[in-house]
């Protein structure tokens, strides 16, 4: 029998759970735990410079690896600083366990120093949370936390740990719990066979089908199956922003992604479809535009692990509750050996879809002319070429995010790492840091904007401490571009506080941390600068790319319209 203090149990549990990195920041209520981590060397603690960055770093790692990220913060301000990152993970269903120090049990409720009811604060943005009430329950609670975070529809779990629970003087028996039992939590393992059969029948009979797949396929590790199924049927597929890469974008059947800034052909195909096969997507308002005008002629098959996602905003004709992977596999076996009922209709449908695609080819944006400011789109296209489309690309939030998603071509899942649901500026850089640490030999690049980068740029110091060689491409338009775009479109170009008046000299800023910065202003400088940036995998390089501040992101759905109602450029609309 092994007797351990609560703090040592936490360190030991993390080892036994196979956690390699934990991101955190110390403080009074967490010090017993920090001491326990110090006295071991299996779990590596990464000291960030702001707790929000700890959650984003763990989140980035979780998105890239499919495993739960882990965070440790102290009580009060440490925990509240983590809130934005917890909400970010929650909105995108990312597995994460956040361990929060708390004031000692006897002080709880007394407004003690650095006391915050963090379980209360985070209640609406966690999958579940626990408060430790006795040190002996630590192994079991932690096991439950990791289990809940990473099964079913994944999400963040908060564990609140009062300081006395980790006191070095109190020791209890430690056994690593191999299994968990939660009587009220039984995530579905497969969909209803009858419903799947019905869905497949509709799929085989469809005349204008479209697959619409989302983050659930990525987190559900169902990309291979999806690719198989879509190829077998020969139907067009569009993904959500979160689902990018689940089906190879370079394949002819892939129409790109859909929604507010999705591709013209995706939105047109959705609008005209007679069958939508939605898998692991949640009919988010940034996808559907006005739900009352959404896809007027389509029947809808909706597969999701989370029953509450089904028929939440758009009614499903064939709901299937189940994990993407097993449902897709069942669909594949049902499709095999069957022919589609209307091959001639499908040919016609493809002619239409290809027509939409051809309509916009070469018209997506106007490349810069010699002497003009660079277009952000051409920067992303060059980035994609230089990294052969194989990098992990994280983004912040704004125009640069949309350009990164539109112009980088992703053939693998988990490669575009972006805050889709919450839209958190500041996410990209720490997320890239978390990924690079776990995938040191891969290219990891953060596409950011000068506004977003300044929200988390303190993490340069963390990258310096741990030698994290991420690349940062700052699409510097000297403005909060996305805000400015909305002001151009809706407020007669009154640019209320969307202009960054006093930007730092990013070159000097980066050099202050001992890193390399390259400023790019012309097209001739662009590719050489990118080549230089990616030459050494282990060096942090920052590209400050001055881009056209007047550029807008298009297509852009017209508010309150249907899927097909889009602005296509500053002068064209559908």
């Amino acid at each position: 029998m092994e007797l351990l203090s609560g703090a040592d149990m936490i360190a030991r549990f993390l080892q036994d759970e196979g956690i390699e990195y934990i991101y955190g920041y110390p403080g009074g209520a967490a010090l017993h735990i920090y001491d326990a981590l110090f006295r071991q060397d299996k779990v590596k603690h990464i000291l960030v410079r702001h707790e929000q960055a700890a959650t984003h770093a763990a989140d980035g790692y979780a998105r890239a690896s499919g495993k739960a990220g882990c965070v440790l913060v102290t009580s009060g301000p440490g925990a509240t600083n983590a809130v934005t990152g917890i909400a970010t993970a929650y909105m995108d269903s990312i597995p994460m366990v956040v361990l929060c120090g708390q004031v000692a049990s006897h002080l709880i409720g007394e407004d003690a120093f650095q006391e915050t009811d963090i379980v209360g604060v985070t209640r609406p943005i966690v999958k579940h949370s626990f408060s430790i009430r006795h040190p002996s329950e630590i192994p079991e609670v932690l096991k439950k936390a990791f289990y809940l975070a990473s099964t079913g529809r994944p999400g963040p779990v908060v564990v609140d740990i009062p300081k006395d629970m980790t006191a070095p003087t109190e020791r209890y028996e430690y056994v690593y719990p191999k299994k968990v039992k939660l009587r009220s939590y039984n995530p579905v393992t497969r969909g209803h066979t009858g419903q799947i059969k019905k869905a497949v029948e509709m799929m085989l009979k469809a005349k204008r089908p479209v697959f619409y797949t989302g983050g659930g396929v990525v987190t559900g590790k169902a990309s291979e199956g999806l690719t198989d199924l879509v190829k077998q049927l020969g139907y067009p597929i569009t993904t959500t922003l979160m689902g990018i890469g689940a089906y190879p974008q370079s394949d002819r059947q892939c129409l790109g992604w859909l929604g507010m800034h999705g591709s013209y052909e995706s939105n047109m195909a959705m609008h005209h479809a007679d069958l939508i096969i939605a898998i692991g997507a949640r009919f988010d308002d940034r996808v559907t535009n006005s739900t009352s005008k959404f896809c007027p002629t389509a029947k809808i098959i909706h597969v999701d692990v989370d029953p509450s996602s089904i028929s939440k905003t758009v009614r499903a004709d064939v709901p299937i509750v189940g994990p993407a992977s097993s449902v897709i596999n069942e669909m594949i076996s049902l499709v095999q050996g069957h022919k589609i009922a209307h091959p001639e209709a499908l040919t016609e449908w493809w002619q239409k879809v290809d027509g939409w695609r051809a309509d916009r080819e070469g018209k997506l944006y106007e490349p810069s002319k010699p002497g003009e400011a660079l277009k952000p789109q051409e920067v992303i296209e060059a980035l994609c070429r230089v990294t052969r489309g194989e990098a992990y690309v994280t983004t912040d939030v704004g125009q640069h995010q949309m350009f990164a998603a539109q112009y980088y071509k992703f053939d693998k899942p988990n490669r575009l790492i972006t805050s889709g649901g919450l839209g958190t500026m500041g996410f990209g850089f720490p997320a890239a840091m978390g990924i690079k640490q776990n995938y040191p030999d891969d290219d990891v690049v953060c596409v950011t904007g000068e506004g977003s980068f300044q929200m988390m740029m303190q993490e340069l110091s963390t990258c310096k401490q741990y030698g994290v060689g991420v690349k940062i491409v700052n699409l510097n338009n000297a403005s909060l571009g996305m805000v400015r775009q909305w002001q151009d479109l809706n407020y007669k170009s009154r640019h209320a506080h969307s202009y960054m008046e006093s930007l730092p000299d990013f070159h000097m800023l980066i050099e202050a941390y001992g890193f390399t910065a390259i400023t790019v202003t012309t097209i001739d400088e662009l590719e050489p600068a990118l080549e230089r940036a990616f030459a050494d995998k282990h060096e942090l390089v920052f590209l400050d790319v001055k881009v056209d501040p007047f550029e807008h992101v298009y297509p852009m759905q017209v508010p309150l319209g249907a899927m097909r109602d889009m602005l296509l450029s500053k002068t064209e609309r559908t």
Partner: protein
């Protein structure tokens, strides 16, 4: 439509706040709420009445089911059920009104459980409609205080809500 949803809930600190929080977070409405431990000390039974169309009720039950602390749930209004609420009311009882109140109490099969020279405390059980009717009947006499438990309910027949 009005629905009565009964839930078996882990008897854990914070469990109730998750249920209540869900309603406010997602803009669902709570008309009444009633919660107490069951014969199994690890479980509470919570009954909530809410109003919404089919889509909203479907969302409410799905989201409730998603809460880790919710062990089991039933929408009692989907079948035959018994609905009860208990109410304690202090009503003015002066002069001729004293008899008048007593008669009404009898009609409603309520009971007077406490008296003072100027008021009666009445206990009444029934469905929410009956309690409302009683309050309406007492309004002219003068209602001084009302304490209602909120609706509790159970399915008729062999159906049971248990683990």
């Amino acid at each position: 439509m009005r629905h009565i949803i009964s839930i078996l809930l882990e008897n854990e600190p914070g469990a109730l706040s998750r249920v209540v929080g869900l309603f406010s977070q997602r803009n669902f409405n709570i008309e009444t709420l009633n919660v107490a431990p069951t014969e199994d000390p690890s479980l509470s039974r919570l009954t909530v009445t809410t109003v919404g169309d089919d889509r909203v009720i479907e969302q409410i039950t799905k989201h409730l089911n998603k809460l880790i602390d919710v062990v089991k749930l039933v929408d009692l209004t989907e079948g035959n059920h018994i609905e009860r609420e208990l109410m304690l009311v202090k009503v003015k009882a002066l002069g001729s009104a004293r008899d008048e109140v007593k008669r009404t109490v009898d009609i409603f099969r309520a009971q007077i459980v406490d008296v003072t020279p100027s008021l009666y405390t009445v206990q009444i059980t029934g469905d929410a409609g009956k309690l409302d009717a009683f309050l309406q009947a007492m309004a002219p006499v003068g209602i001084l205080e009302v304490a209602r438990t909120g609706v509790s309910g159970i399915a008729r027949g062999d159906k049971v809500l248990s683990l």
